[in-house]
């Protein structure tokens, strides 16, 4: 992956937290247009950082919900496990994205959040967030937007799984990743997959073989280049068409 924009982050003292007001993810994670004083309040709010090693869980289903998490660094998946071993991956989460809002309703997490690489999150104690957002309307509005965005995202997943073919799902997945990397200042057309084919399948409602075959087919058609986990999108507009066309020929 090619990082286009970067900014130094002081991590010399690991126990010391970087204030939101200094964070390079600010514009993804926080509302724009906070005043100095409001920003100071938010800085107080964030309850520190937590490192999660690759393969480790940030939280498990069933654990009491106390906070939501902003991914500071790294990459997570969230998944729901059935008694057996069937599992549905409900999302992949990269730096600047918020995690854990499904726990608010029952005050219990109902999925597992697993780090797919060594990661770090900012902890946002939820009761404090509620209290402060009652006093800072901009923050309140932002919280509601973030939650609503999650609802919209989930409904997009429904469309994908209810109405799209295997190949369309894979294309939609790649374009979505691309767009999110681009929003973070990384290259849009070239990136490393942090997850296995099986995890992609569990996310898209497909088997890993089907995902692999879709990759191969797209490569044959010259639309993407697959080299293990490194993906290059060779023809983004044709990929986009593939989705648009697909939904125009039913």
């Amino acid at each position: 992956m090619v990082k286009i924009a970067e900014r130094a982050v002081t991590l010399s003292d690991p126990g010391h937290r970087t204030a939101c007001s200094q964070c390079n993810l600010q514009e993804l994670c926080l509302p724009v247009g906070l005043s100095e004083t409001e920003l100071a309040v938010v800085d107080q709010l964030v309850g520190g950082r937590r490192k999660v090693a690759r393969g480790q869980a940030l939280f498990h289903s069933g654990e009491p919900f106390t906070a939501i998490y902003a991914v500071k660094l790294g990459f997570f998946k969230t998944e729901v496990l059935a008694a057996d071993g069937r599992h549905q991956v409900t999302g992949f989460h990269m730096a600047g994205e918020v995690l854990g809002m499904d726990g608010i309703s029952t005050e219990t997490h109902n999925c597992d959040a697993i780090a797919l690489e060594d990661s770090e999150v900012c902890l946002i104690p939820f009761s404090e967030l509620e209290q402060i957002s009652g006093q800072v309307p901009t923050l309140q509005r932002h919280l509601h937007r973030v939650m609503s965005r999650e609802i919209v995202r989930d409904q997009g997943m429904m469309i994908m799984m209810g109405a799209m073919s295997a190949e369309e799902r894979v294309v939609s997945f790649l374009l979505n990743l691309s767009q999110r990397y681009a929003a973070r200042g990384y290259a849009a057309a070239e990136f490393h997959l942090r997850m296995t084919r099986e995890e992609i399948g569990a996310y898209l409602g497909l088997k890993l073989e089907t995902v692999s075959r879709a990759f191969s087919r797209l490569q044959e058609e010259g639309l993407i280049a697959v080299e293990k986990k490194h993906i290059r999108l060779l023809d983004v507009s044709r990929l986009r068409q593939l989705l648009a066309q697909a939904s125009a020929c039913s």
Copy 2:
């Protein structure tokens, strides 16, 4: 459908709104434990009622978002339409449920809400709701729970569409309806479907023929009785097993 509990509602003056404090859906729609004064504030908040005739839209995708809606009476579907004609039904919504929260993030509705029978909704202007919930913590907390519950519901849909067979999906759909009717004081084991087989299919990610066949098979097995749109669940525990088993044999 057999209504077990009923309560008279004054509708003599159609322009006059029933106060939330008097509404028989209160415990579904409002937080329990509001003080008298808080309830009075909420009563002020609700911006009146709106009737929607069967087949009509409460709102369309693309329209500006100004309010969320509580279903007072009737039955809705929400759906996302593709350019062609493919559509994904994202939910069915009955009395006491809240509708339209997907519009918060972009301030634009991004699905259509269609009444499946003559219906009535309470209008809750969202900017006022935000303002007041900043002052009434119980209400704020409730709003967050309602939004989070929607996220959890959507993730349940993902599991259904990503990991369940056609028959499992249909069973899951019926049990879910049953449970929601039960929560409203209606019979859990006997109800009328308000939607067509095609709409059920569009919700479950299946074709209408497949839904019809699943009904027939479940009937043959003595699990349900289907008579047009009237459904009876003959063996709820075996239906539940079917889902549990299913997720235990993969």
